[in-house]
């Protein structure tokens, strides 16, 4: 387990370095001059030179990359071109909103998805199973932005039950929750479908496995078989999908936060791109990449803890 943990974290760091290099290359090696873009067409050469020097763009490429890496490692993601505020501060300011939305979306999706999946297993082959199947696939098939727009129209505009925009008053939990309900519904519903299908499939596969038959042949009770023998195996693919799911929920946040005009990391990126605010774009993308890598690595370690076969992947 220790070997696996060390190697898996080493791998995550390597991925992060590659992402950082790729991002740096993409933003700075494309034709064009960030300084003239930032200052606009009427900037004087002196102003451009000054900004170029301030951004460190007059240095050799290797120095630039090293600076970027060492700054990023120290938590310095640079400064906003327009407001001159540190990028990290801006991200941390809106991060709680996005995290709250992400956890709420995935939370209700996990609970409902696993329950529906188990129900489908209990009633497999019956009309309920078919109905749940159709329902799950519909949830997967309808694009989240359609759900977002229609739920906005129905619950916020027509019925006026929930707020249409914003993230609620700071410090007021009930208003924050009310503001997050519709976006969480829109993001989570796809995952309810995915998880219901996945849990059904992996539970059925595991319950049909030979070792479950062995456990039955030794007269172990059915609840004990499910809890001790089956669940531990059946939950593994779900954890893998959930880690990816958290990443995709972070990217869904980009459009959902736009649709619902919520302050958050997603809307931060959107507005930064619109204003060509490169340090903010890079900083936010880097931050989200790191966060995503962290979640995926944590999920991998959890799977390795549950399944000894995963642990031995790095052996031999």
């Amino acid at each position: 387990m220790l070997t696996y943990t060390v190697k898996r974290i080493g791998l995550a760091i390597m991925v992060l370095l590659i992402v950082m290099s790729a991002m740096y290359a993409m933003v700075f090696l494309v034709p064009g001059d960030p300084a003239s873009l930032a200052l606009g067409p009427r900037a004087t050469p002196e102003l451009k030179a000054e900004l170029t020097a301030r951004m460190g763009l007059d240095q050799p490429l290797t120095t630039q990359i090293l600076n970027f890496f060492s700054n990023a490692l120290r938590g310095d993601l640079g400064y906003d071109v327009w407001s001159k505020r540190p990028v990290l501060d801006q991200i941390l300011e809106v991060l709680p909103n996005t995290l709250f939305l992400g956890i709420l979306s995935l939370g209700w999706a996990i609970v409902l998805g696993i329950v529906l999946g188990c129900l489908a297993v209990v009633w497999r082959g019956t009309a309920i199973d078919t109905l749940l199947g159709v329902l799950s696939v519909s949830m997967i098939a309808v694009p989240p932005f359609v759900i977002a727009l229609y739920s906005l129209l129905i619950f916020a505009v027509w019925l006026n039950w929930l707020p249409a925009i914003g993230a609620g008053k700071p410090g007021d939990w009930s208003s924050q929750l009310a503001a997050a309900l519709l976006p969480a519904f829109a993001i989570g519903i796809t995952w309810v479908g995915y998880l219901a299908r996945l849990v059904r499939a992996s539970m059925l596969e595991v319950m049909g496995a030979n070792y479950i038959r062995t456990a039955r042949a030794f007269g172990l009770s059915e609840p004990r078989i499910v809890l001790r023998c089956a669940l531990r195996v059946a939950i593994i693919p779900t954890i893998a999908i959930l880690a990816v799911g958290f990443g995709s929920i972070l990217s869904s946040a980009v459009f959902v936060e736009t649709v619902f005009s919520r302050p958050g990391v997603g809307s931060l990126i959107t507005s930064a791109v619109a204003k060509r605010n490169y340090p903010l774009v890079m900083g936010t993308v880097l931050f989200m990449t790191t966060f995503y890598l962290f979640v995926v690595t944590a999920a991998d370690l959890l799977m390795a803890w549950l399944d000894p076969r995963v642990r031995d992947v790095f052996r031999s």
């Binding site: 030979n210 070792y211 038959r213 039955r216 042949a217 007269g219 076969r309 031995d312």
Partner: protein
């Protein structure tokens, strides 16, 4: 002697498919019986029915009595009460018969759930049992996961698991099929030792005639869901009376005189079990078939221990 296992007219169907069409067999304490037949003849179905775990959706009728207790009509709970206590099974594929995410030790402790020993005592018992089935370094094996053990070690472990609960009836479903020749010989050797110490009955289900000849006292030959012939190993091997048994023995590579001879086969295939013939199921492949074979074959007693299901045998 009392019959430890008594199966009478056991029928099992999956929807329209009649997998068992009236199987009869008995086993006494201390006896090792073999059930042989080609793939699809109903051997494994019979083995699963014996431990009360037929495949989902199977309709079962007839009678299975284990130590006098009826299993077919019994409730699921009382059938479960027999498993892992009076009855235990050694499974065909040791690769998949154990849980991949629990250590061997944990599983061997779980299997002793009926025992009132402490966890530590169960572990010690499991350790001793692993040692007695010839697993090198049993202490280490207890801490191992299944993918860390070899095929032969897993098969030894599954035999140890079944013996841990000291069952009256031990069922082994193709215990050597998944193993290479060397391992097979070792496992057969282990079963021979087992015969000497085990007081209950052992049922070995296999398509491998050599295994049966090595280990069993009596043999039941199955064809298309029926027992077509029964007898002692000597009778079945040296004076098979049913044409199917004779053909099966003739196909055994062990009987070839010269190695470059073509291996004989039985022409034709198993009858369609969704619509089984009224008469003898083997008639369409049988060299001795006659008009009378379209009628249900009678069971002819040929010796105190031998009987066959055939029209064409003179009693």
């Amino acid at each position: 002697m009392t019959e430890l296992l008594e199966v009478t007219d056991l029928r099992l169907s999956y929807g329209k498919l009649h997998a068992l069409r009236g199987a009869n067999l008995q086993a006494r304490a201390g006896e090792v019986i073999g059930i042989v037949g080609e793939s699809g003849c109903g051997k494994s179905t019979l083995a699963s029915a014996l431990i009360g775990l037929p495949a989902e959706g199977a309709a079962l009728s007839g009678s299975i009595k284990i130590a006098g207790q009826e299993m077919v009509a019994a409730s699921a709970a009382s059938r479960r009460a027999l498993r892992g206590d009076r009855v235990a099974m050694i499974f065909q594929d040791p690769m998949t018969a154990f849980n991949p995410v629990l250590t061997l030790g944990d599983q061997l402790i779980d299997f002793q759930h009926r025992s009132h020993l402490s966890r530590k005592e169960k572990r010690a018992k499991a350790r001793d049992m692993l040692a007695s089935v010839g697993l090198p370094d049993p202490d280490l094996a207890l801490k191992r996961y299944m993918h860390e053990l070899s095929g032969g070690m897993r098969q030894r472990a599954s035999i140890a698991a079944a013996l841990l609960v000291s069952p009256d009836l031990l069922i082994a479903d193709e215990p050597t099929t998944a193993l290479d020749v060397t391992m097979e010989a070792q496992i057969i050797h282990l079963f021979r030792q087992l015969r000497a110490h085990h007081h209950g009955a052992i049922v070995i289900v296999t398509h491998h005639l050599g295994v049966v000849g090595e280990l069993c006292d009596r043999v039941y030959v199955m064809y298309a869901g029926e027992v077509v012939e029964e007898g002692t190993v000597d009778e079945i091997y040296h004076s098979p009376r049913h044409p199917y048994t004779a053909a099966l023995i003739a196909c055994d590579p062990m009987h070839l005189e010269v190695t470059d001879q073509r291996l004989p086969t039985i022409p034709g295939r198993l009858p369609d079990l969704t619509n089984p013939p009224r008469g003898c199921a083997f008639a369409s492949r049988c060299v001795k078939a006659a008009a009378i074979c379209a009628e249900p074959p009678p069971r002819k007693r040929l010796s105190p221990t031998q009987a066959a299901l055939c029209h064409r045998i003179a009693e």
